[in-house]
Symmetry: C2
């Protein structure tokens, strides 16, 4: 019984050993480094990762500005003003935002001023409109409040000083950050380049998304799923036509230099048609092949020059699991982001037990019900439907034999 | 003291009364209805909101398929097989995914089969490769395991049945949902149209984002911030040039029929240059003007035909606050999404007290420090810088006089 054909034999081989999830995660954190920077305009900056330190080129406010609607004047001249003793000033003009009073406020004079308008030279305080009343057809104003110099005036640089550090590298730019950058006169910012992730989808049985399945052929679902996941993680997916299960075709696809990282879906196992691991080992370095995790144990990780290659099983749930455990953190790290789980998390008690095995991490799809966290009973058959029925997943660590009913577990929610 | 010029007088008027945040929120939930549907391809479907029920047009699997690598044969013929009694079958061919065995498996025959390949007619079970050994140069296979009919065979429709309901309206499509849609042969899906939100930025003092501030002019920061917020909420921002503080210009901008909703930034208060509320009242209906909230009390809400118009204060923090409390939920509702806060939330004790007043909601920017939740000491001056220093905000309800040190508060995190 020794004359087995070589190309079939490989299927019998199995994985020599499986790497632990922790080891793979450590390796990814070592190898996946932020890409170079590029400059983008403010309109594209929200959500991007800052690649350098940003200091304010100008002060905010850039001029002394009114903090209230009212009348600008010399504060010391209001001393003694009260309801019983209104002091009257000549009203010599108006200062509006963007339309300053063109002159100087002299002794005995006041200028109508609106919040945000420049306080005219000569004036040093604002009396709130509530404590002032115009008289003489708007030629004068009676003031009933005494204001010290500086009152209701925002001084130059009071909010942000010129040269002040505003935001540092690694910051994921929020909408209001970009607002502040606009305010200090910045037009473009250096951000980490978005990682371009090339999807290599292999399988003779696959039709492209949008096709109708028929005969022995099924439709590739991993490319559209992976594209959505890559986008969630700040990357850009590059698509190519489906690659047939032929060594030369897989080789061409993997050697193609486009993309900062490769995700190979399908053909990742140890079967006769599983060319990808062999090609990666030959063209570069196969660092991991076989991981102690269920599902997605045939996942792998390699390197071609300085590009990482992830081998994702073709089975959609395994592909999702392997992406989220391994490829996702790498995409985020390439983009300068935090590698941790991006999912919202809730804690809740288990409604039914989860069985696992020591030495293996389990990725268990669950539903959140009134009774608690329900692990979905997944036979091999209900693979696809489970991914849409689940609200999220629970991770059972490799040191655990599972979780008992009533035990509180951490659920990572699918968005 | 009665001869005040009319255009100035309005500034003295103040708000007749302020609407409570709850009332405004209820009004928005009543008025903001999901937009019509449009069809998009799967490549654009992730993150969109499904506008109808989706049923599976075909079954998954669509053919009986191998669930394991091994040998397809007639299960009943393996009865009696064991390590001590291997039963030998003629090996007549191979079935691979996408490349079915072209014949029928007869009595005494077996076919090599790979996971996912169609189980050939005649065969009804798969013996795992581990329990089989090829002999005679690959012309026969010895089987050491007895498998009942159906073993390791995924039956037609076992995962998803043809006609089965998959996803319902309102579902925000996840990456794996779109994968499942591809698998069942769906090419396009009906989704709620993305709301187009027109930004009307008013102010004579404003330069466009990217400009360098100078003289009495400052740079508009609200448009880039609002664009980021609208995108976060699933909408598309439409930009126009900055609108000067002239009644006719504001009128033209507000009457422009483009967009499903309007956000007017600046000129929302009761001052002489605050044209927006008057224009909305004249052209449509001004439903709310003045809200019992700090900051952003001059916020307003109106209607022009069936389009909602939000009046947002020009001050950047007030604008952010008014967007997040009022406009954001409306954008999400128009897009068929959940109006609730999209922010991640954490609970932590207050490091210092927050003072508030009964009858008013407070939006308090805070930092998360080792000492707990630190409210940022906001003088009028540190408005802009506070938005980037803050990690998130705390909402003090209108029934509360504030929060004491040590009290646990809910922090909404800026992403």
């Amino acid at each position: 019984m020794n004359d087995v054909p070589a190309r079939w034999d490989v299927r019998m081989r199995g994985f020599p050993s499986r790497t632990s999830v922790d080891q793979v995660s450590r390796l990814i954190r070592e190898l996946a480094r932020p890409l170079s920077a590029e400059r983008v305009g403010l309109g594209e900056a929200v959500g991007r990762v800052l690649a350098g330190e940003i200091a304010a080129p100008v002060a905010v406010p850039g001029f002394a500005r009114a903090a209230m609607d009212g009348y600008a004047l010399r504060g010391e001249e209001t001393f003694g003003a009260s309801d019983y003793n209104p002091l009257v000033f000549d009203l010599v003009g108006e200062a509006m935002p963007g339309r300053p009073f063109p002159g100087v406020v002299k002794r005995g004079q006041a200028v109508r001023i609106m919040t945000g308008a420049p306080v005219p030279p000569g004036a040093d305080a604002v009396v709130m409109a509530e404590y002032a009343r115009e008289v003489g057809g708007g030629t004068a104003v009676g003031v009933t409040d005494a204001v010290p110099p500086g009152r209701h005036v925002g001084q130059v640089g009071e909010d942000i000083q010129a040269g002040q550090a505003l935001l540092g590298p690694g910051r994921v730019l929020r909408p209001q950050d970009v607002g502040v950058l606009a305010s200090v006169g910045i037009a473009t910012v250096p951000v980490v380049r978005r990682p371009r992730i090339r999807l290599v989808i292999t399988g003779d049985e696959l039709l492209p998304p949008g096709a109708v399945p028929g005969g022995a052929r099924i439709v590739d679902s991993n490319s559209v799923m992976l594209e959505g996941l890559v986008r969630r993680d700040g990357g850009i997916a590059l698509h190519d036509p489906i690659v047939p299960d032929r060594r030369a075709a897989v080789e061409d696809a993997i050697r193609d230099p486009r993309g900062d990282m490769l995700l190979v879906s399908g053909g990742s196992s140890v079967g006769a048609e599983d060319h990808a691991p062999l090609v990666v080992a030959e063209q570069g370095e196969l660092l991991v092949h076989g991981v102690a995790i269920r599902p997605s144990s045939p996942a792998g990780l390699g390197r071609l020059g300085d590009r990482l290659v992830f081998l994702l099983p073709g089975n959609p749930v395994s592909c999702l699991c392997a992406y989220d455990f391994f490829a996702g953190p790498a995409v985020r790290l390439l983009g300068g982001r935090c590698p941790e789980w991006p999912h919202r998390q809730v804690r809740a008690p288990l409604a039914r037990k989860i069985a696992s095995a020591v030495g293996r991490v389990d990725y268990v799809r669950v539903r959140l019900t009134e009774a608690g966290v329900e692990p979905l009973a997944i036979s091999g058959a209900s693979i696809l439907s489970s991914t849409i029925r689940a609200d999220g997943f629970v991770i059972v660590s490799q040191d655990s034999e599972g979780c008992a009913p009533g035990e509180e577990v951490l659920v990572y929610l699918y968005e």
